[in-house]
Each structure stands twice: as C-alpha cells, then as structure tokens.
Point group: C2
Chain length 288, copies 2
Amino acid sequence: MFQERLRAAQNGVQAALDAALAARAEVPIIHAMRYALTGGKRLRAFLVLESAALHGIAADGAMPAAAGVEALHAYSLVHDDLPAMDDDDLRRGQPTVHVAWDEATAILAGDALQTLAFELCCDPMLGPAERRVDLVRALALASGAEGMVLGQALDMAAETAPRALTLEEVIALQAGKTGALIGFAATSGAILAGADTAPLAAYARALGLAFQIADDILDVEGDPAKAGKKLGKDAGANKATFVSLLGLSGAKDRARSLVEEAEAALAPYGSAADTLREAARFVVERDA
Amino acid sequence: MFQERLRAAQNGVQAALDAALAARAEVPIIHAMRYALTGGKRLRAFLVLESAALHGIAADGAMPAAAGVEALHAYSLVHDDLPAMDDDDLRRGQPTVHVAWDEATAILAGDALQTLAFELCCDPMLGPAERRVDLVRALALASGAEGMVLGQALDMAAETAPRALTLEEVIALQAGKTGALIGFAATSGAILAGADTAPLAAYARALGLAFQIADDILDVEGDPAKAGKKLGKDAGANKATFVSLLGLSGAKDRARSLVEEAEAALAPYGSAADTLREAARFVVERDA
C-alpha cells in the first residue's frame, strides 16, 4: 500500500511541477530549476497528500501544496550543495546544479525555487483563501530563520565550533534542518481542512528525527551507488552524528523507538493512517 | 510633502522590520538579516504605503506589505553582492554581508529574508485572506523566475555574451531586475483594496525604467561617498547601459519623458496622487 501510494505521489507531484514550469520562458534558469526538481524520494509530497487524504481532501486539492513543498526542498538542496556551504558535487546521482551550470545559476535557481514554492501554495485548487494563507504562513515559518534555515546555519556553525555538538544540540539542529519542513508537509492536510494539527505535528517530529538517524546510519553503512551521493563524509569530517553520539546499535534502537512513537501519535486517526504508519517504518528501513 | 512622507515610510518600515525580527533567537543569521535590512532609500516601502493611501488604507493596514517588499529587496541585494554574482564589497556605505560575515551566512540570510517577505505578506493586519493571498501571489510572480530573478539571470548572462545588449534587451532585463518589484510595490495598495491595478502598474513601469536610467547616469556622474557603493563599474566593464546606448544627454531626455509618462498614468487618481508624482521627479533628480 505504502509503495503504491508513494509512487502515485511521485508521479502526481512530478506532473504538477512540470506543469508549473511548462509555461515559463525557456531560459537557463528555468532549465536549472527543472533539473533540480527531478527525482528524489518525494517523501514530503507524499506526506502532504496523505495528510490531506486523512482529512477528506482528494489528491487534486492538495497537489499544489505537495509540489510547493518539493520546490522548497529542492531550493534548500541546491543552496546547501554550494561550495560555500556543504560543497557537494553529486545529488540524486547527478552533478549538482552549480557543477552542471555555475554558482550564480545555482544561487538564482534556488532563489526562484523558493519563490515558486510560495506561488504554488496560493493555488485556488487548495481551497478557501483563509486556508491558503495559513498554508503560506506555515511554510514560511517552517522554512525560515526559525526553521530550516536556522538548522542549516547551526550545521554550518558546528563545522567550525571548538567542540562537537551534544545529542541535544544535534536534535535541535535536525529539528530545524529537516524536521521543520517534514512537519509542514505532515500537517498541511490538517491546515487545509482547518483541523487540529497537533497529532500530525507529533508524528512528524518523531518521523523527522527517525529519518535523520536513518540518514546518519546510511552514511556509515549505505551503498553510495544507491544513495546517489558521497557517503562517509560526516564520519570523515569528525562531525557529531547520531551514530557518533549513540553508537551504531544505539542509533538503530533510537530510530526504532521513534518509529513506534510516530505510529502512536496517529492513534486519533485509527486505521485511516495506516499508510503513514508504514511510511514511518519505511523511513528507517530504506537502503538509500 | 514627498520628503516628509518618504521619511515617515522609512521610520515606519524600519520599526516594522525591527519588530518582525525582535522575537527571534539571537543567532548570527538573525544578526546578518537585521544588518541587511538597515538603511536604504525605502522607495519600495514608500510606494506600498502611498498605493495603500490612494485606496483609503491607512499605514498600519499596509505596513507588513511595506516591510515584506523591503525584506524581499534586501534578500536580492545580499545575493546579488555575492562573489559568484556581482562580487560587491560595499553596500549602503557598509561592508556587504558576505564580507562582514561569510558567504554561507550571506546565502542563508538572503534565503531567510525571502521567506520573511512572504511571512509578512500573510499578516492579518493586511485585511481579508483573499487579498493577502493575492498579495503573496503577486509578490511571488514579481520576484521569481519570470520577474526579478529572470532579470538578474539575464544580467549575469550578458556579462559573458559575445556582444553588448541592445536597448530593447536592456529594457527587458531591467523590467525584471528592478521593474517587477517596483511594480509589485506600486500596485500593492490596489491589490489589498481589490481595485484595478492597471494605472499603478503603468506608473510603475515608467518609474522603474526612469529609476534605472537615473542609476546608470549616477554610475557615470555620481559621488561614490553619497552612493555608498563603488561607481563607474558598469562603464569599466564595457556593459551596455542606458548611458552607453543613448549617450548621457539622450539618457537624461529619456528619463525626463518617462517621468512625464509616470505622472500621466496617475490621472485617474487626480491630486490624491501628487506625492507619487513628486516621487517620480525625485527618482531622476536624486544624487544618490
């Protein structure tokens, strides 16, 4: 069930992103944006669509938000890969945007992808204006200087810090860097329905942390060919990760207990949330 | 009248921006954002407030939009100044963000300033949700890959092009790079009131072009101490500018006729738009 629905989300969101860029001028910046929007697991889009489904909103009525969160995520990857940031050459098995084009194009394409994310969240398909404003505001809070960007800034600061981060600091960093946007995605259906976001926010907190722990485990144990990016970088950089802080088996234990926590948070939705429960298990069991 | 109202806009928008950042965590990224938001002419904020006043909206009911457009503008300056872009060390008489901090901080601060702009445009002070969604969408269209970012991308492409741009190409470039955001600012009051944006859009088109021509003239004739940035760069770089394409006196003539065009576009508003008329004259007569 989960795999089918993930695949449907992947296809649906790719079509929506293609459509959003189809009408634009054929300039290099648009090519770079399209390139950056290709591939990926589309976990965030999937979460938007599942969250919407839980609240009786069909895929069409949530797809622009799913496309928006993927555009926002893509912008963050393009900028994080820049030489002045993580300096990565490979992403999703392909040269990063600043390698395929140049730094200026990567900065601008990232900028325009962020803009596109907010534009998509205004789409009338998403329902009443009140809900769309709530959605735009939630996306801004999740991705800005108190959310995703703060997490990335803490990550940069950690690289030149005199000591490695503590577990609490790594958790705070990841809550911003990856957690905030996952939280937005998972609660977006509730936002669009004007419903309580608390259960899905709790689910997303556990899921986001489990996701990051799994990433750290894959960085040590994963197959670079499947990951489509360089692995072992964090360990080489002597960076505090969940594996360095908890040990490999401690990290795996923590990931498993977070999956249970995520599943438990979905109790109010009963079996309607089974796909989201499966997603939580997938996140820690994936091999890429 | 214009000078007083511009000063009021400057003070009001600075207070709004300070308030927006006051509650945030005191991390370097917030310091860099605050630094990038300091100073400047605040022409865009002024246009938002005047456009609102023309439609019976008091300053309080438009201030978050004025702050938003200045946050968006500040993000564009921080990113444009980066080494991979225009590589400028000085802005508003101060070291640019990447000089005062580092490139990573400048990229992230710019990113978070863009996010802040969209957050501010969701502020309930701006009125009904329908209008706020329209405002967010207009800001996204003005600043994205078919507006400001496109203009900047065309500008970057021109630097390595085998020939200098034609007048039509420079006009198209500037319509994106500076014109789109000025257009957003000038029409925002009409958007918030649900009124016709066409007269103010026409005013902004002429004003934005006049503004850019005046900039090119200042680049040749201006006083670097007053400008707070390096001048003569474009001429030195053999870049097509309105001065290189029209000659100094031709550029001045064009700027003057654009001011007349801008003033004429305001006819539907009668004397209520006198401050905007004064603003158009100021834009070409300023010495910095």
